[in-house]
């Protein structure tokens, strides 16, 4: 299982990478593996507020829907429009297929580093 070092992880299987004051958020390799082939993503709009620990959208596979949670509180500055037509990018390259970018960050959840996250995934599998 893939856990790059340069990002941090939430317990609900999102990754977040800081680019200056902007948080870039996506789904982890573990998440996309569990979800299976993704067929659609429901994303917020630029300008919407997101809250740390709360769902900001969802991803659909053929037979299931899963909420995606924000690791930070802030304002959505950009959404990855390419995912609307090609949700499979999340399955193919989860750490490149970011979902949203968030600015004006005022809060964040308790986040894990790569080793802690890998251990967290192991414990979930058991």
């Amino acid at each position: 299982m893939n856990c790059p070092e340069n990002v941090r992880y939430s317990k609900s299987h999102e990754w977040v990478k800081m680019e200056g004051g902007t948080a870039v958020i996506g789904l982890t390799d573990f998440a996309q593996g569990e979800l299976g082939d993704l067929v659609f993503v429901n994303l917020p709009e630029a300008g919407d507020t997101v809250v740390a620990g709360e769902a900001f959208g969802d991803v659909e596979s053929v037979k299931a829907v899963s909420d995606v949670f924000s690791p930070v509180t802030g304002t959505v500055s950009e959404i990855n429009e390419e995912l609307l037509d090609h949700p499979e990018l999340i399955n193919d390259a989860p750490y490149e297929a970011w979902l949203i970018k968030v600015e004006e960050i005022t809060d964040e959840e308790e986040l894990l580093d790569a080793q802690e996250y890998a251990a967290h995934c192991e414990s979930e599998k058991a």
């Binding site: 067929v39 659609f40 659909e60 596979s61 053929v62 037979k63 829907v65």
Partner: protein, 438 residues
């Protein structure tokens, strides 16, 4: 007593014993004694098939079935080609369930795919679902589709069929959506009133054309005004009329809905009917209900499946936009067979006759002293002010075997003609009307 249980009493007892029970009572030990029925239900004894058949025939005979029908108002008497009944009686179609196991349900799935295509063709829209219960619930579901976090109010034209309005109102009672009525003026939607409203929280406007009074609304003006305000337009339409009239897509509607009963379904005292819903491409994922999609199988063969299921209740549960599960599948197939049999030329012919006959009837009624209420182009329905009492007129015509237009009140009547009315029939009706009012 009729029973559809193949096993005889002896076989049943053997089966009970095989599973270690002595009687049927042993199967129900989980039910508290106090809840088990102590005495038999207060129902009549079961009957043989012959007796049930006779009883239902007796009930049917207590109804008066008219041959000469001039009433519409949401339920229409159209010609049903013989092949429609034949096809839709095929037991495979009648007794199949929802096509969840696609591999053995390609017949159903393909027929729904064909139906969806035909609804898109009729309405001009990009996508259609596999049906909802009727035109009224289609309107209510369409309103729900248009609502979002920023715009939650639903606006409905006062020229809407009161039954449709009632259902939208009831659904808004459920969702909590504020409901606004856009006034009418001279029998059409008053767009000046729209201009005077504060529309920034209105999600959609529902207008039907032809409207309840039969009048064709100015769809271009309505669409322009609604879109200018940032709201969506839901057009209720008549599927036969779409054989010759401008489509909701041509008007720029965001959602097109309507009652599909005219497409091969008998009037049947109100049901089962067929609600069709079609939308623009970007509203596809907001459509409620089942949608069939084309795909390929493991060997590359073309096939069909239920798709976009992640919208639906069995996956989204409380987050689903609609709870709809069972729909009107066999009625949708009925519509598809009807449209296949009629073709574009047949539908044009039916629509042309509806319109021509209705105008011919109006002309005759005007000569007889009726006054038309509301001016303007119409399809196959119109309202007249009657020389006398509308209810009495209706009763007298009924005695002669003619189902008149619907009395809207003491003086006004909503008339309807279809391709089923012959010129001779209309002439006879006019003659009878002449007699009654003199």
């Amino acid at each position: 007593m009729g029973s559809y249980i193949p096993n005889t009493k002896e076989e049943q007892l053997e089966m009970l014993r095989e599973i270690g029970m002595q009687s049927f009572d042993d199967l129900y030990t989980d039910i508290p004694e106090a809840m088990r029925l102590a005495k038999p239900l207060d129902l009549p004894e079961g009957l043989s098939e012959l007796e049930v058949s006779a009883a239902l025939e007796e009930l049917a005979d207590k109804n008066r079935r008219y041959r000469h029908i001039f009433r519409g108002a949401g339920s229409y008497h159209h010609y049903i080609p013989a092949i429609v009944k034949q096809v839709t009686s095929k037991e495979e179609f009648v007794t199949a369930y929802t096509p969840y196991q696609a591999e053995i349900s390609q017949g159903i799935l393909q027929s729904v795919f064909e139906y969806q295509t035909m609804i898109c063709e009729l309405t001009g829209m990009d996508v259609s679902n596999a049906s909802v219960y009727d035109g009224a619930t289609a309107a209510a579901e369409a309103a729900a589709m248009c609502r979002d976090r920023k715009r939650g109010a639903v606006c409905v034209s006062a020229t809407t069929d009161p039954k449709v309005l009632s259902v939208i109102k009831t659904y808004c009672f459920g969702s909590g959506a504020p409901l606004l009525i856009l006034p009418e003026k001279d029998g059409r939607t008053d767009m000046a009133a729209w201009g005077a409203m504060d529309t920034k929280e209105i999600a959609c406007l529902y207008v039907q054309t032809p409207n309840y009074y039969g009048i064709l609304e100015d769809g271009d003006e309505i669409a322009a005004a609604v879109h200018e305000s940032g709201a969506k337009l839901i057009l209720g339409c008549n599927p036969i009329a779409l054989g010759i009239l401008k489509t909701p897509a041509e008007y720029g509607a965001d959602v097109a809905v309507g009652e599909g009963q005219p497409l091969g379904l008998p009037m049947s005292f109100g049901g089962p009917y067929l609600g069709f819903m079609a939308a623009s491409k970007d509203m596809m994922r907001k459509l409620p209900g089942r949608i069939v999609g084309q795909t390929v199988d493991a060997d590359g063969r073309r096939g069909y499946v239920l798709t976009l299921q992640a919208r639906e209740q069995h996956i989204r549960r409380e987050k689903a936009s609609s709870n709809i599960c069972s729909n009107e599948a066999l009625c949708a197939m009925t519509a598809a067979v009807y449209l296949s049999a009629m073709g574009a030329r047949g539908l044009e012919k039916a629509a042309t006759a509806c319109m021509a006959n209705a105008h011919y009837l109006l002309e005759g009624l005007l000569k007889a002293g009726f006054v038309r209420k509301y001016q303007g182009e119409f399809f196959h329905e119109f309202v007249t002010v009657c020389p006398g009492n509308a209810y009495e007129l209706s009763e007298k015509l009924g005695e002669q075997g003619y189902l008149s237009g619907l009395p809207l009140n003491e003086r006004e009547m909503l008339w309807c003609c279809t391709e089923m009315n012959t010129k001779q029939e209309i002439d006879t009706l006019l003659a009878l009307v002449g007699e009654v009012i003199s």
